[in-house]
Amino acid sequence: MTKFYVILGVVAIVGIGAVGYSVTSSALGAAAMEPVEVEGLDDLTLLAEIAQGVTKGDEDAPITIIEFGDYACPGCGGFALSVKPQVELLLVETGKAKFVFYDFPITTIHPTSFLAARTARCAQDQGKFWEYHDALFRNQASWRLEASPIANFLGFGEDVGLDADEFESCVKSDRHADLVTANMRLGYELRVNSTPTIMVGRPGEFLQVPSATFQGIQEAMDRIGSPENAGGAN
């Protein structure tokens, strides 16, 4: 019987240790890396309320330029570094359009992009979404193939002047996992199947830009802005 009690005790100690570690490490913060179950996303009205892009520019601008983007996608990196600055300078800052970014992490090929999207939302909590967003893309090559890029993300947060403790606590949690999941779902509903997907238009009337270039965006703006297209394509 002594041997039995020893084995039973060992199993109990290992079990207590494993479950205890899981719970305490979560209390210290385990970062949500994947989409989560969010109630109500099947209802498109609710989905439209839950999903939220981040807007740059005048909320009342006549045209909206939407990007569904993945922080680990090299194409999105290229768009962020070469096209978006032109869009901001010539279209957003002039009041012709506003730019809205929606998270669309393609987790099947970029396992850390969901986490990256969440961390950008954590930066948004501190009012530095765009600074951090740009830092993620600028430094994409340094983290996109890392298995666990949390340290990189915390470093970018520090670089853009985020409160380190608050940011780390948000990153190492499941905060904003529901929002990022909802944005992904919105993308699927809009038939987004690659990134960056750029759409140009106004509420209820959007054109998908065939190539994510400045010229493509301008052409789409011209089409959506012309009278014969008013109330047209969706």
Binding site: F4, G15, A18, V19, S22, V23, S26, A30, V36
Partner: protein, 146 residues
């Protein structure tokens, strides 16, 4: 005095292991464990599916309770005055068979309905199957009677 039944010792050790596997899943259901840790499979899909609960009760909670009962029964069945107990033997057999069938149903759901695997659920299914196998000698005890 009869020797402590080896099969009940095996059941106790297995039930202790199964208890912690179920407790791990249950802690996640309670939001205490953060995101579930998965090396292989897709626990998040399984655990967030509608089959992860029976009404308001998480399936993992049923697992925790089931393993506690099996552990208590086997432990009691090892005490000198209960070593030949047919009632404990019968309860162990019925309990492990019921748990095994329930677990088989959950495994079927994972394979054909949810189409995702949670390795902790698979581990629990294997443990309960082994507990049932370890409980089979109780049949002889039931037939022999005391």
């Amino acid at each position: 005095m009869a020797a402590p039944p080896m099969n009940r010792m095996v059941v106790a050790v297995l039930a202790m292991g199964g208890f912690f596997v179920a407790l791990y899943l249950f802690s996640h259901n309670l939001g205490l464990g953060g995101p579930i840790v998965c090396g292989v499979g897709d626990c998040a899909t399984v655990q967030s599916s509608r089959y992860a609960t029976l009404g308001p009760v998480p399936v993992s909670a049923i697992g925790v309770l089931g393993y506690v009962v099996l552990l208590a029964l086997s432990f009691m069945g090892l005490q000198p005055k209960h070593r030949e107990s047919r009632m404990i033997g019968g309860l162990l057999l019925v309990g492990s068979l019921g748990g095994g069938l329930f677990s088989a149903y959950l495994t079927y759901l994972e394979a054909f309905v949810i189409q995702a695997w949670c390795q902790y659920c698979v581990a629990s299914a294997i443990i309960i199957a082994l507990i049932f196998v370890a409980s089979i000698p109780e049949v002889a005890r039931l037939r022999g009677g005391s």
